[in-house]
């Protein structure tokens, strides 16, 4: 047994660091540190920097621009990006729809969509969830009916992240109502400018708008925008959700959170001492750091077990459950450490073009919004309860 990375992996880490130092826009990093919200342009500029480096879609096959990184290297890359405060790379193009097009799309689709996914010229969003189809995704009702050379789509998608920025949406639509619910779903690519699509933003409890409702009313979609075969969309969706799992633990994010938390706890005071020296607070901080260490090691063990190839099995559910809980706990501890100044609701201070002056310490304004935002982590990507069902079936075989 050995905890150390190989010499190649250490060299790779240095290469990533040097790239981040030279190519990650400094102004975005500074805004991230201050807790200011990322906008479309921030995501785009980061995407562009990655693309210029050839690192925008590392997990794609090399003939489409992939890097052939090992799972360990991908993990190192994620860790370093979080430590540098980069925006999350929006997953919808490169991580989610890209691989589906590569594996199941035809040549014309690959030619049409992959270049602009790589370049970031076209933003994507994901049309899966519906008001009546959340954890039970296969019960989705949005209908697509073939009329001549066009699919006519009617229905509603919801919780659609960054739909307000998106040029395209990939949708699961019902194309057959006479079969078992999983067997009547197709995978459709829809231009967001098509008449009949309207987007209504959803304000969430953190005070931000990242998710939307997307209404589809007699939306006419060219026949050739269907990926793979009719009624096989559920298979593609499962493939896509499997890809969503890698890096799901969010270890790098939590490590970054831990550093922020310690900074706050070394700045706040209690009973004439630093908060970090308070036994009650320190005990909770210690528990969170210990849990994070355990998660990091469990993640590394999984990377070791899957080797250079392959994808993680149901053990990824263990990482998702614990990782999402920890992301919540670190946000919660940061808010609590901030004390009373976590209470003023200062939404303006989180906007990039704000000219006002926030009350309290510089870190205060973003703490409670972050706490409320993170409540989503145990809900999206398969809720904690759904993950436990997966563990039950796949590992425990109950």
């Amino acid at each position: 047994m050995d905890l150390n990375y190989s010499a190649e992996d250490e060299a790779f880490r240095l290469e990533v660091r040097s790239f981040l130092e030279n190519k990650f826009p400094k102004d975005i990093g500074e805004r991230a540190k201050a807790g200011i919200r990322f906008k479309k342009d921030d995501y785009y500029r980061w995407h562009k920097a990655l693309n210029e480096q050839g690192w925008v879609a590392p997990h794609w096959p090399t003939e489409h621009g992939g890097t052939n990184w090992t799972p360990v290297q991908s993990n190192i890359f994620d860790e370093e990006c979080f430590a540098a405060g980069t925006p999350r790379q929006l997953p919808f193009g490169t991580r989610l729809v890209g691989p589906v097009i590569i594996h199941f799309g035809n040549d014309a689709q690959k030619e049409r969509y992959l270049p602009t996914i790589r370049s970031g010229e076209e933003f994507w969003c994901q049309g899966f969830s519906e008001p009546g189809a959340g954890s039970d995704l296969a019960s989705l009702k949005t209908r697509a009916v073939l009329e001549g050379d066009e699919w006519v789509v009617n229905g509603q998608k919801t919780w659609t992240t960054t739909a307000q920025y998106a040029d395209w949406i990939f949708c699961l639509v019902r194309t057959n109502t006479d079969v078992k619910k999983q067997a009547g779903i197709s995978f459709l690519l829809i231009d967001m400018k098509t008449p009949g699509i309207s987007v209504r933003p959803i304000l969430t409890i953190d005070g931000d708008v990242q998710i939307n409702e997307v209404f589809l009313e007699d939306v006419r979609v060219p026949k050739e925008n269907l990926v793979g075969e009719v009624d096989k969309g559920w298979t593609y969706a499962k493939f896509l959700l499997g890809n969503e799992r890698t890096g799901i633990a969010g270890v790098g994010l939590c490590k970054n959170d831990l550093e922020n938390l310690k900074t706050i706890a070394r700045s706040e005071r209690k009973n004439g001492k630093l908060l970090i020296e308070d036994p009650l607070f320190q005990a909770r901080l210690s528990r969170a750091e210990i849990d994070l260490t355990a998660l990091e090691l469990t993640n590394m063990r999984m990377l070791f077990d899957i080797g250079d190839e392959g994808t993680p099995g149901a053990i990824a559910s263990v990482l998702k459950i614990r990782g999402s809980e920890l992301q919540q706990r670190f946000a919660e501890l940061q808010m609590e450490a901030t004390g009373s100044y976590a209470l003023p609701w200062q939404q303006g201070a989180l906007e990039p073009d704000w000219n006002g002056k926030a009350v309290g310490p510089a870190y205060a304004a973003a703490r409670s919004p972050l706490y409320y935002d993170r409540r989503k982590t145990t809900i999206y990507g398969g809720s904690t309860e759904v993950q436990k069902n997966i563990i039950t079936k796949a590992i425990l075989e109950l």
Binding site: M1, A283, L285, S286, R301, F304, R322, I391, T392, L398
Partner: protein, 381 residues
């Protein structure tokens, strides 16, 4: 990065597994506890034959030059099979202290006998009233010519009931709670002035309170540098705690296996109780805790040999805290999901639960290690 057993470790683990499953049935184990001597002399000899007792010692002393990871591989099996022999006190603790601080004469005299299975030892580092603080030592060692005269009490010494020799800490100078001024002494269990009160711990293993009344120690039985024992004590306690956690992990694996099996065979309301989602999710939680505990056990074993006391201490305390808390709640869930059968002494679950309870408290409980982790992590800067 490597989280797998080496070829040698696989072999060692397999042959130990075979030895223990062949010789440690529930009935055999319970008879040893009920009728004495609380462990099996035959199995101790078998350990010696397979080289288990030689594991951590240097090759030039007849040892196998093993690391704390090798010790972990052994301890996981000892825990899985609830082995009763004083392996941790003799080999890990006393062996570790001798390796780190022993004179050439002490090493050649004692290590050879440990390896052959002819010497059992224990290490007493805590006292009544000191709780888990090893620096709070009231036992005094007064110089008398070249000799020392020891008086004091050592509490709940693991393996102290059957040890031939006991290494104890005593204060040769300094204030009661100072890390300076502590010295280790090798005491014959049958020396004049030594009385021990042996007992079984709740998991059936032996322990003892050792009372020292004007026990004369010659210079040859002073272990290491006078007044400088603290670093040795800390390292020995960390290695012991790491091994104890590995044992606890082995027991944890069995707790989960027994519970999962029970969920599949026990039927109520016309179906196996494992079909009920509320129980499925409890079981999933136990699996999550086990996986994370395993990660920390691996890590603390990989770090237990480090000279960097802060890094080592943080790693070991992390594991003690995590296994202490999460193992504890998992055991409670296991009993709960078993229902009435989990309450019976006849069923084996309780034996594993109790083994984990000893590991939770011995060498420092959750609060102790939580405070230690916090001090090492956040108080230095």
């Amino acid at each position: 990065m490597d989280f797998g057993y080496s070829e040698e470790q696989v072999l060692f683990s397999n042959s130990l597994q075979k030895l223990l499953s062949d010789s440690y049935s529930v009935d055999v184990r319970r008879k040893l506890v009920a009728e004495g001597p609380g462990y099996s002399e035959d199995i101790w000899k078998a350990y010696a034959e397979m080289g288990l007792l030689a594991l951590p010692f240097p090759e030039d002393m007849g040892g196998l030059d093993g690391t704390s990871v090798d010790a972990m591989v052994v301890a996981i099996e000892l825990g899985r099979h609830l082995a009763l022999e004083p392996y941790i006190p003799t080999v890990i603790m006393a062996g570790g202290a001798l390796k780190l601080a022993g004179s050439d004469a002490q090493k050649s005299d004692l290590i050879e006998k440990i390896i052959s299975g002819d010497l059992k030892m224990a290490v007493g580092l805590t006292e009544p009233g000191s709780r888990f603080d090893m620096a709070e030592v009231s036992t005094r060692a007064a110089a008398d010519g070249d000799d020392y005269i020891l008086s004091g009490v050592k509490s709940v010494v693991l393996g102290g009931d059957v040890a031939d020799k006991i290494i104890v800490s005593a204060r040769t100078s300094g204030e009661t709670r100072s890390e300076d001024g502590l010295t280790l002494f090798i005491v014959d269990a049958d020396a004049d002035g030594v009385t021990r009160e042996g007992y079984a711990l709740l998991d059936g293993r032996g322990g003892a309170d050792i009372t020292l009344e004007n026990v004369r120690i010659t210079p040859s039985a002073v272990l290491g540098t006078v007044g400088q024992a603290w670093v040795i004590m800390e390292q020995v306690a960390d290695q012991a705690a790491a091994a104890l956690c590995a044992e606890s992990l082995g027991a944890f694996a069995r707790v989960n296996e027994l519970t999962l099996e029970y969920l599949k065979i026990r039927e109520q309301f016309g179906q196996p109780i494992g079909k009920f989602q509320v129980l499925q999710h409890h079981m999933a939680d136990m699996l999550i805790e086990y996986e994370n505990a395993q990660s920390l056990v691996y890590r603390s074993s990989m770090m237990a040999d480090s000279d960097d006391a802060a890094m080592r201490g943080k790693a070991v305390s992390s594991t003690k805290v995590y296994l202490g808390e999460r193992g504890h709640t998992s055991c409670q869930s296991a009993i709960q999901m078993h229902g009435g059968i989990g309450m019976t002494a006849e069923y084996e679950l309780g034996d594993f639960v109790k083994r984990m309870a000893v590991a939770e408290v011995m060498f420092g409980d959750v609060d102790h290690h939580l405070a230690r982790f916090g001090k090492l992590s956040y108080m230095s800067g």
